[in-house]
Symmetry: C2
Subunit: 325 residues, 2 copies
Amino acid sequence: MSEYIPTYDDILSAAKTINGEAVRTPLLRNDALDKVTGCKVYIKPENLQRTGSFKFRGAYNAISKLNDKERERGILANSSGNHAQGIGDASRMFGCASTIVMPADAPVMKVERTKSYDAKVIHFDRAKEDRDVVLARVEKETGGVIVHPYNNAMVIAGQGTVGLEIAEDIMALDGELDRVIACTGGGGLTAGVALAINHHFPDAKIYSSEPERFEDYKRSLKSGKLERNATTAGSICDAIIAPTPGSVGFEVNKNLLHSGLVVSDEEALTAIKFAYEELKLVVEPGGAVALAAVLKYGKEWAGETVTIILSGGNVDPDIFVRAIS
Amino acid sequence: MSEYIPTYDDILSAAKTINGEAVRTPLLRNDALDKVTGCKVYIKPENLQRTGSFKFRGAYNAISKLNDKERERGILANSSGNHAQGIGDASRMFGCASTIVMPADAPVMKVERTKSYDAKVIHFDRAKEDRDVVLARVEKETGGVIVHPYNNAMVIAGQGTVGLEIAEDIMALDGELDRVIACTGGGGLTAGVALAINHHFPDAKIYSSEPERFEDYKRSLKSGKLERNATTAGSICDAIIAPTPGSVGFEVNKNLLHSGLVVSDEEALTAIKFAYEELKLVVEPGGAVALAAVLKYGKEWAGETVTIILSGGNVDPDIFVRAIS
């Protein structure tokens, strides 16, 4: 069956849907970041979004598209924790139940925050079980409706509002934009952002960014087909460790992305420290890879205008302390 | 000699002066903060300002009012570290030298960041020396021009742009504002904000906020005259430990402020943790007292609209780790 691929119009529609519910995050500048990179850098801080990450946008938009009967059955999702909170919060707002399948080693903060939205959390062992199998079992038992964290056109359209807001804000300023870097797990945020940015800035180069050893997106963009990571665990960037690109988003990204950037876990930690010291923002490892990428590659783009997305800020104190100490 | 007391027009003028140089910080909302306080809370995050605190605004505005000959003599100031960075950065931008008298126990981050703006730092022992005496000696030796951290009308006018931006943003939204809480050391930010807010929202109640045992502002507002703290050290809120209210700002505040709020160091640390977990913002102890105050008193103001200022984010890792662990 051929999948529906979201369009720019779906993003416009999502923007109307989430208006007044999601935070319209600002576009920030920071003198120290400009100085160290040599670029004019815009920061889109989605760590300031409801639930602490951009995931609320897609979750809310997708749930809004369900009918009452579907919502009554309850929402199901698997997630390492950010989509979980987005689904939990949005489900609560729509008055429906939610159940999230999360790895047993998900960050404590993410588990607790997910439960705080009255979501039911079911843990599984990442090494022994397949999360899709666990989720299918829950689906069979409960009859709930699965909202996939990224392989869902309406989720991608919701995440695309991040790109739409970036485009609107930059058009209201000087209208210059050379490069955009998204944080990339399954590629839903990246695809939504690519659709919106490409619509308004067709010449801007758009990049995925990933942690080393989990660079499935970079390799997939190169080969033109869905490549898999050799492993499913072992990076501190828990939020963006997907086994392979989502097929829906990849249909967008394979045409619109310039290429994939890769940073090490150490570079992600250094970016968290930079965000603490200079930006005064709390960013989680997976949300810091685009910042790490501009810190790593900015010198090659001196004088250009680069927008980076800080995709989330739900980080356990032990990791944060390790980064800033 | 009678001191010049700044007016709303001075703030309008300062806003033009700093436009394009200072960050126009956004006005943020946070669902979790609304929920826990029962209020509709606007957050003015001046930790996102250049140099990591609001102090850049006043420093830049004051230095802009000097003539070339004065600027050639170099700028002098005493500061626990935030005004230091504001003076250092603004001096560099105007092409003049700066020398800062800082306590020897100032946070390491503040000392290093001040030096990064090419400012010369002179340390003194808080227990044995009077900072004004040290500064007077430096003035005599160098012939530089002192820009006081808060007892200066043009500094206060610069800080007032924080209040002007709050007022403009709220007028562009629903125009409702019941209470405003500033973080208060010498009272310069508080006075500037009070002038701007009172101009646009004459019915809004404006508060100072201070740490326990350093509540000179609260007592001064009560007595109507300048009260002194019994001690000059011993709070983690280093940024807002002034011995007594500045006389210029007090002329404004004694008429425009509702009263003074007080929080403990522990409540400031809890506010830092809340900002880390929910707001995803890095706030320093002295910059967190207004947040601590709304967390403490919000329940009494249920349903009202409250704006708090997060005045700075320059916090050493050891204190931050203590707060979030």
